[in-house]
Structure formats: structure tokens, C-alpha cells
């Protein structure tokens, strides 16, 4: 996935961009509206993350222009304002969703996923690993000709393992990456989700290997 992050605070932009890159996506960063327009004109994006207060104007104007130019790339607004009337105004202007700063990265990810799914049709989300087909946006997994609907947590876990196949993840790392610390997810819960994924992947070339004392790794026979 390719993201455009429009945010004037360089520190925040860097932190958010690096976190998104960690999930295996590409991010372009624009610090002002003029740059954002230039980026949108020259490149195709799957999603735009838009700050509202920018040095050369109001992000809402960009949003309005963006929609007026029949550009349907979904936009998630990152706003510092939390008032209800502001939220309603944003959605009326054509934002697909909004998130109040400071935000939980897991929630940003979840909202991005929901927005992408609503604006579906992007074939790029389909990945093939061995004989398994996986659509991270719709949450579909095709194994041996059967389509399985993954639950959100299974989906995110599998997405993470696939994006980093061959790498070892400790349970703790998985918890950090997948869940908001507010979620009260124990490391035992990870075992449950791993167990379910293994069951879904049964009979395919893809396997999740347990490395005692170290964690899990996704492998596939090829």
C-alpha cells in the first residue's frame, strides 16, 4: 500500500511514517498543502492521511479541492480538534474517517483497513505465498480452493507474519505490534490465534513454525 502523509510537524510525521513503514507500506510525506497537491498530481496513492492545521492553509480546503477534482483516494483526517461539530463537518467535506491526535497506531491501522475495504476494488491487496492467496483488506484467505473469512486479529497476525516471512517474532513483539496496550492481551492469547491460523493453513504449503523460547516464524515450502 502507498500512503501520503500530510503533516507539518516533522517529528510526528517521521514517527508515524516509520511506524507505517514497519507494517510494510510505502509512505510519502508532504509538509504543506502545496506539496500534497504536487504529490497527488504525480503519484497514485491508496490512502491519504491529512492533518488539518497546515502552514499554508486549512487541510479542509485541500480536502474540498481534492474531492472537487474527482479524486477518490480515501482520506483519513488527523485532527487535534475533538468537538463533535468538527467531526461532522469533516465527514461532510468528504473525509472518509478521522482520528483525534494523539492516536493509537493500532486504531489508525484499523481505520485505514476499514476505509480501504469500503473503497474496495484494489487488487493490489491480494498476496500469494506458495499455494495460499491472502487478501489483507477483505480478510479473505484461500487455501486449497476454500475461502476462509479471517477474524480481524487473525488477519492482522497473518498479515504481519507474511510481511516478515522467514523472520522470528517473539510473543511479546507480536503483542506490541498487533494490539493496543489498552487491550489487555496476554501472550497466551497469541498462542490461541497462532493455533487458529495453523488450523486455517492446514494442508497448504504455508506453515507457522514455533521456535521454542524464541517465538514464531512463517515458512513456506517452495
Amino acid at each position: 500500500m502507498k500512503y501520503l502523509l500530510v503533516e507539518d510537524n516533522l517529528e510526528l510525521a517521521e514517527a508515524v511514517a516509520s511506524r507505517i513503514r514497519l507494517d510494510g507500506h510505502t509512505v510519502d510525506h508532504a509538509a504543506k498543502i502545496a506539496d500534497a497537491i504536487a504529490f497527488v498530481d504525480t503519484s497514485e496513492y491508496d490512502l491519504i492521511l491529512l492533518d488539518i492545521m497546515l502552514p499554508d492553509g486549512d487541510g479542509r480546503h485541500f480536502l474540498k479541492q481534492h474531492r472537487a477534482r474527482k479524486n477518490f483516494t480515501p482520506v483519513i483526517v488527523l485532527t487535534a480538534r475533538s468537538q463533535v461539530s468538527d467531526r461532522i463537518g469533516l465527514l461532510d467535506l468528504g473525509a472518509d474517517d478521522y482520528l483525534t491526535k494523539p492516536f493509537d497506531h493500532a486504531e489508525l491501522q484499523a481505520r485505514c483497513r476499514a476505509v480501504l475495504r469500503r473503497n474496495a476494488g484494489s487488487a493490489q491487496s491480494l498476496q500469494t505465498i506458495g499455494d495460499v492467496e491472502f487478501d489483507a483488506v477483505s480478510g479473505h484467505l484461500r487455501v486449497n480452493g476454500n475461502t476462509i473469512n479471517l477474524r480481524n486479529r487473525e488477519l492482522r497476525l497473518l498479515e504481519l507474519l507474511i510481511a516478515n516471512k522467514g523472520k522470528i517474532f517473539s510473543k511479546q513483539k507480536l503483542v506490541d505490534r498487533l494490539f493496543s496496550y489498552d487491550d489487555d492481551v496476554s501472550e497466551n492469547a497469541i498462542e490461541v490465534y497462532i493455533g487458529r491460523l495453523r488450523k486455517h493453513l492446514e494442508g497448504s504449503e504455508v506453515r507457522i513454525v514455533t521456535l521454542r523460547g524464541l517465538g514464531y516464524r512463517l515458512d513456506h515450502d517452495s
Binding site: 492545521m53 475533538s82 494523539p102 493509537d104 496496550y181
Partner: protein, 455 residues
């Protein structure tokens, strides 16, 4: 609002009183003037006849054999006939000597020869009009002055005058009544303009500070002008403070977001348990502060709006569907399924923004405290009264806390380490109360909490 206004008199009453008072005065003046004119005209008529009668007698005066002789032509009295049978008197003098007639008719001293003098006297309670004329006859023994007075009672005249007076009185009364009706109408039209302006200002929503664009009479223009200036100043101030709050929020929340993102990113790389603990504590503190700040602002907004509800027909089902759609990504993070159960259409006269805020808090709470992979049910019920319930499959409320949980900053024992401000249920309850309803917390028999907003 009007309770604080000091009221002194009423423009409408004052205007009505001045106008009817003026009309009464004018009616009285009209009556007096017309009556005086009529009296004058009638008097003129009688005087003319008296004068003609007197002249016809005086014209017969001759000196024969050294004596003054006069004759009464028939017409001289017949012309004085009236319907009221007025009595006629006469007196003829030669110099100071009464030749014939009533001696109480005295020749006035200031009567010039060849002139006619009219005067009104009262004899035995009768009003008499007297016309006196004199003539100088030249005899062999020099000039001799003869004067004739003809007097007539005024019964016919006063009858006529009374008739005219009565008619004029009726006319004056009619004039007064018509003017009064006109005055009251004018007063109410004038105050009606004011009332219309008042209505157009009162009917506005609490957020509407746009100038009054309705056309007003020129007398009210200064007032409306001041009102518009005042409102635009207020609007300006409000916008400024809103901009200030937005700017402040931006300045505070953006660095917080930076710290949070960095802490989260660092957490991915750090393995040592104590480092992880402090990073988590940092993230947590940031979330607490930003959530509390947001909820405090929301709470302030709810308290303000609760007193000036911006009422409209709110479709609860549509509102909830939007909310559920907005919160689905958060629910999915925990694999919680939100289902809506609706018994037909449910609309409510209420403040959409407040209702949205209250319902968001209820769903937000349920999502926060319910365990992963459970179901959340949002139910709109229409009997016995319109209500929205949110059921979860969590551990429910501690029974001894049910009564106190909606208090300000109160948080339940079952909160675990969830971030919260303790204001969510307070906000929901205040919104319910502002709409004449209530918030009820309960535990479901099969486990889980149920929060219901009754309207």
C-alpha cells in the same frame, strides 16, 4: 430571559392612550367649533329678519302736522313668524320719548343715526334679540330723531341650535370612536413590528449569530443596527476563542501525538521489561490526559447546550447507524461484532449533537470494557417509552456501584487498566436529563452490562 428585563410602561399602551386622548380632544374641539358656527349662522338669519322688519316700520315714519307718524306694514310682523311661535315686542321712540310699545325696550346710547344695532337681553327669563334703528326726520321745527326697536324671543333659534348640537355631538362621538379604533390598530401594528423582530431573534438557535436581515421600519433601524453590531462582535469573540481553543489543542495535541508515536515505535525495539513498563506508562499517561481533556471539553459543551437545546427531529436509527459505522474499526480490533436491533422507525425531538455525543459514549464504554470476540447489541425500543440500550457480554457492573457510576469522575472497580476520564456516563446522563429522560445501568441476567438511555 425576560425575567431580568426591567419593564417600564408599554409603548403600545402609551401610543394608544396618546392617540385616543388626541382623538377625544379633537372631537370636542370639532363639536364646539361647529356648534359656534351654527349659532352664528342662525343668529345672522334672525338678525336679518329683525333688521328687515325694523326697517319696514322705520321706513313709514313721516312728519305730518308737526307730529311724527308711523305705520306697521302687515309684512313687518308676518315675516317674524316662526314655528316655535316666538313672541315679538317693539318700541318706538322720538328722542327720549316713547311714542308706542314697551318702555323696557330702551334705545341704546351708542346708536348712531341711519345705523342698525343688534343686542341680546334677558327679560323675565326670556332671551330676546333686539334690532334697533333710527332715522332723522326733518320737520318744520328742525330735525327729529325717531328710533324703532323690534325684539323677538329665541325659542325657534335655540330649538334649531339644539338639533344641530345633537347632530354634531353624534358626529363627534363617531369621529372619536373611529379614531380610537384607528389608534388601537396603529398601536398594535407598531408593536407588532417589534414583536416580529423579537420572534425572529428568539427563534434562532443558540449558535446563530448572523445579522438580522429582515426589513424593519426606519425607527427600529438603529436598534437593529446596534443588535447586529453587538451580535457580530459576539460572533467575532466566539470565533476568536474557538480559533484559540483549536490552535491550543493543535499545539498541545500534536507534540503529544509525536511523543506517543515515538514511544510506541520505541516499544517495538525495546526488550527490557522495565523500559517497556515506563514506555507503556508514558503512552498511558498521554492517552489519559488527552482523553480527559477531550471529555472535559465535551462535558462543558453538553452543559452549555443542555440549557439551549438546538431542537430538531432526530432519526435515532440513522444516528446510531452512523455511530456504529464509525466505531466498527475499533470494534474489529477486538473482534467485537456490533449488531443493531430496531423496532421500526424512531424519531425524537432533540439536540442531534448532544444525542450523538451521549450515544457515542455508551458504545465507546461498551467497546472498551467488553472482552475480545464478544457481541455488542444496540437496541432501539419504542415501548414503554423510546429508549436506546447497549448490551455487552463483559463482566457487568459491580452491583454496589450501579447507583454511583454516572457521577462525575467516578470510575468502576472493574475498569482494569482501561484509560478513561470518568465523564462518559456523566455526559450521557446529563444529555438524557436535558431531554427529559434518564440513564439506567443494569446487569443482564445472562451476564454483561446493559446501559439504557430512556427518553
Amino acid at each position: 430571559m425576560t425575567a431580568n428585563v426591567i419593564v417600564s410602561g408599554s409603548l403600545r399602551n402609551r401610543l394608544a392612550i396618546i392617540l385616543t386622548g388626541g382623538a377625544a380632544l379633537l372631537a370636542l374641539v370639532l363639536y364646539l367649533v361647529v356648534r359656534a358656527l351654527a349659532a352664528q349662522v342662525a343668529q345672522q338669519g334672525q338678525d336679518n329678519i329683525l333688521s328687515a322688519s325694523m326697517s319696514s316700520v322705520l321706513d313709514t315714519a313721516v312728519i305730518r302736522d308737526g307730529r311724527v307718524m308711523l305705520d306697521f306694514p302687515y309684512s313687518s310682523f308676518s315675516m317674524l313668524n316662526t314655528q316655535a311661535d316666538d313672541r315679538v315686542f317693539y318700541a318706538i321712540y322720538e328722542g327720549e320719548t316713547l311714542l308706542s310699545g314697551y318702555d323696557w325696550l330702551v334705545v341704546p346710547d351708542d346708536l348712531a343715526p341711519e345705523n342698525t344695532l343688534f343686542e341680546t337681553t334677558t327679560i323675565n327669563g326670556d332671551h330676546l334679540r333686539v334690532a334697533t334703528g333710527s332715522r332723522v326726520l326733518i320737520g318744520s321745527d328742525g330735525p327729529r330723531n325717531v328710533s324703532v326697536s323690534i325684539a323677538q324671543t329665541q325659542d325657534a333659534l335655540s330649538n334649531t341650535l339644539n338639533g344641530i348640537s345633537r347632530n354634531v355631538a353624534f358626529l363627534g362621538l363617531g369621529f372619536f370612536l373611529m379614531s380610537s379604533a384607528l389608534a388601537i390598530w396603529a398601536a398594535s401594528t407598531t408593536s407588532g413590528q417589534m414583536r416580529r423582530l423579537t420572534t425572529s431573534v428568539t427563534r434562532r438557535g443558540p449558535q446563530d449569530l448572523s445579522p438580522v436581515t429582515k426589513a424593519v421600519p426606519s425607527e427600529m433601524a438603529p436598534l437593529v443596527g446596534s443588535l447586529n453590531t453587538f451580535m457580530s462582535r459576539l460572533d467575532h469573540t466566539l470565533t476568536q476563542s474557538e480559533d484559540f481553543i483549536a490552535e491550543a489543542a493543535h499545539r498541545i495535541r500534536t507534540p503529544l501525538a509525536t511523543v506517543r508515536s515515538h514511544a510506541e515505535a520505541t516499544l517495538q525495539r525495546v526488550d527490557r521489561e522495565d523500559n517497556r513498563k515506563s514506555l507503556q506508562a508514558m503512552v498511558r499517561a498521554i492517552d489519559e490526559s488527552s482523553r480527559t481533556a477531550g471529555q472535559l471539553l465535551d462535558h462543558a459543551m453538553v452543559t452549555f447546550r443542555a440549557e439551549n437545546l438546538e431542537m430538531s427531529q432526530v432519526d435515532l436509527v440513522e444516528l446510531l447507524q452512523e455511530l456504529v459505522l464509525g466505531m466498527t474499526p475499533v470494534a474489529e480490533m477486538k473482534d467485537i461484532t456490533i449488531t443493531m436491533k430496531v423496532e421500526g422507525p424512531a424519531t425524537l425531538l432533540g439536540d442531534a449533537i448532544l444525542l450523538q455525543n451521549a450515544l457515542r459514549n455508551l458504545i465507546d464504554n461498551a467497546l472498551k470494557y467488553a472482552p475480545a470476540e464478544t457481541r455488542l447489541l444496540v437496541e432501539v425500543s419504542r415501548s414503554p417509552t423510546l429508549s436506546v440500550s447497549v448490551y455487552d457480554e463483559g463482566q457487568g457492573f459491580a452491583p454496589d456501584e450501579i447507583e454511583t457510576l454516572s457521577g462525575r469522575f467516578v470510575r468502576g472497580k472493574n475498569m482494569g487498566n482501561k484509560v478513561g476520564s470518568g465523564l462518559g456516563l456523566t455526559i450521557a446522563q446529563e444529555v438524557a436529563v436535558a431531554h427529559g429522560g434518564k440513564l439506567i445501568l443494569s446487569n443482564r441476567p445472562e451476564g454483561g452490562a446493559c446501559v439504557t438511555l430512556f427518553f
